[in-house]
């Protein structure tokens, strides 16, 4: 019953004015300009790499051989994470395709290749509203993600919600706290001087509160992704975003 109520709550359109803001809105004008200009946005380098990888054959078969041109992926990333026989992030889906259909080894998180493939697929959904997969098996996953979001952790004993729900918009040592809507991933983070996934960012936050980060691809991180994307429902995807 509780699951159903949660599902209905998550599916319902917000009746009140939408005061959700993308992390984009909290950035300075120069960083915003960097994201807006595809000829200056470093994330586009990974998108270009992804375009090349999309047509590269692994053991005789490329992504394009099954999926056609990559622009056919429009709308796909907006639904992720999805439920196949298990909750799947976009990275995990790409790796499933590689192992099941291309006879290729899975790519580790944060490798340049996986970032490039994720970037080019998610880029096809840029501008489209986040539209989480309505599969009811994801309800429990999202509920778990919300529980983790609200759970205090680490030596600093802080929950994500304390900063990103209760104190979003306020400043932490000179930098604004964003609302944590992951609509731009994978993104180019100036702090990383490179491209990174949402899971990398979540693990960074965990390190910041001195908690042991969940492993890449863990059920916890996928649950958090699922919750966060439902929380961002309707907000436009921005991949590849730029963030400080």
């Amino acid at each position: 019953m509780r699951r159903l109520a949660l599902a209905l709550a998550l599916m319902a359109l917000p009746a009140a004015a939408d005061d959700r803001r993308s992390g984009f809105d909290y950035m300075g004008p120069d960083t915003q300009a960097m994201q807006r200009d595809d000829t200056a946005n470093p994330g586009m380098l990974w998108v270009r790499d992804g375009e090349a990888l999309w047509t590269r054959a692994e053991d005789g078969r490329s992504c394009a051989d099954c999926h056609g041109a990559v622009d056919g992926m429009r709308g796909v990333a907006a639904r992720y994470p999805v439920f196949d026989d298990a909750p799947l992030s976009l990275e995990q889906r790409i790796n499933r395709c590689r192992t099941k259909h291309q006879g290729a080894a899975p790519l580790a998180y944060e490798t340049q290749e996986l970032l490039a493939l994720t970037a080019v697929v998610a880029h096809q959904s840029r501008g489209l509203p986040a539209a989480p997969d309505p599969d009811p098996r994801l309800d429990a996953v999202r509920a778990e993600g919300e529980r983790l979001f609200r759970q205090r952790q680490g030596q600093l004993d802080l929950a994500c919600s304390q900063c990103h729900d209760e104190n979003a918009g306020k400043r932490l040592a000179g930098n604004p706290i964003p609302q944590a809507h992951p609509t731009g991933y994978p993104l180019y983070r100036l702090e990383w001087q490179g491209m990174g996934s949402l899971q990398r960012r979540l693990r960074n936050c965990q390190g910041a509160v001195r908690a042991e980060p969940y492993a890449y691809g863990s059920a916890e991180l996928v649950a958090l992704e699922a919750y966060l994307m439902a929380r961002a429902r309707g907000m436009p995807l921005e991949t590849p975003a730029v963030r400080p």
Binding site: G28, P29, D30, L190
Partner: protein, 147 residues
């Protein structure tokens, strides 16, 4: 270790004091400018505009645009534009070589900033004169000296 300590200080809301070992100094920057300007010549303020944001969110990347007021004709053009800094580990940022085929003397790039500091751009004109501009930048998160 450094990053976790810094973040826990930030979370506690205390002002952060960054202690930096000495690397480049204003004197090193002055030396580098002298070397660029050929020793004898002095760079006069003027003709050059240096655009950098006054406040940079992350020192790993700050956009900069340097422009020089010049007709860029074969008789009067900008030969080189050099950019210097005073607090990164070493004082040079870039040297741009232009020609009359450039059309305009405007170059944009992105630089790293180890700390809040002064950035200086010096232009060498085809008539042998040197002109300069400077900009003050505040950095909320530093770049080079992290880790």
């Amino acid at each position: 270790m450094t990053e976790l300590t810094r973040r826990s200080l930030l979370a506690a809301g205390t002002a952060l004091l960054l202690v930096r070992p000495a690397h480049a100094t204003p004197q090193a920057m002055a030396e580098a400018i002298r070397a660029f300007a050929g020793g004898a010549a002095k760079a006069q303020p003027g003709r050059v505009t240096l655009d950098l944001p006054a406040l940079v969110e992350n020192g790993n990347s700050a956009p900069l645009t340097v422009a020089v007021d010049s007709p860029m004709t074969p008789d009067s053009f900008v030969r080189r534009i050099a950019v210097f800094n005073e607090k990164n580990p070493q004082p040079n940022v870039a040297v741009f070589h232009l020609t009359p085929r450039s059309g305009r003397a405007v170059v944009s790039t992105r630089m790293r900033l180890a700390d809040s500091q002064t950035i200086v751009a010096v232009a060498e004109l085809s008539d042998g004169t040197f002109w300069s501009a400077s900009a003050e930048v505040i950095v909320t998160l530093a770049a080079c000296l992290e880790g």
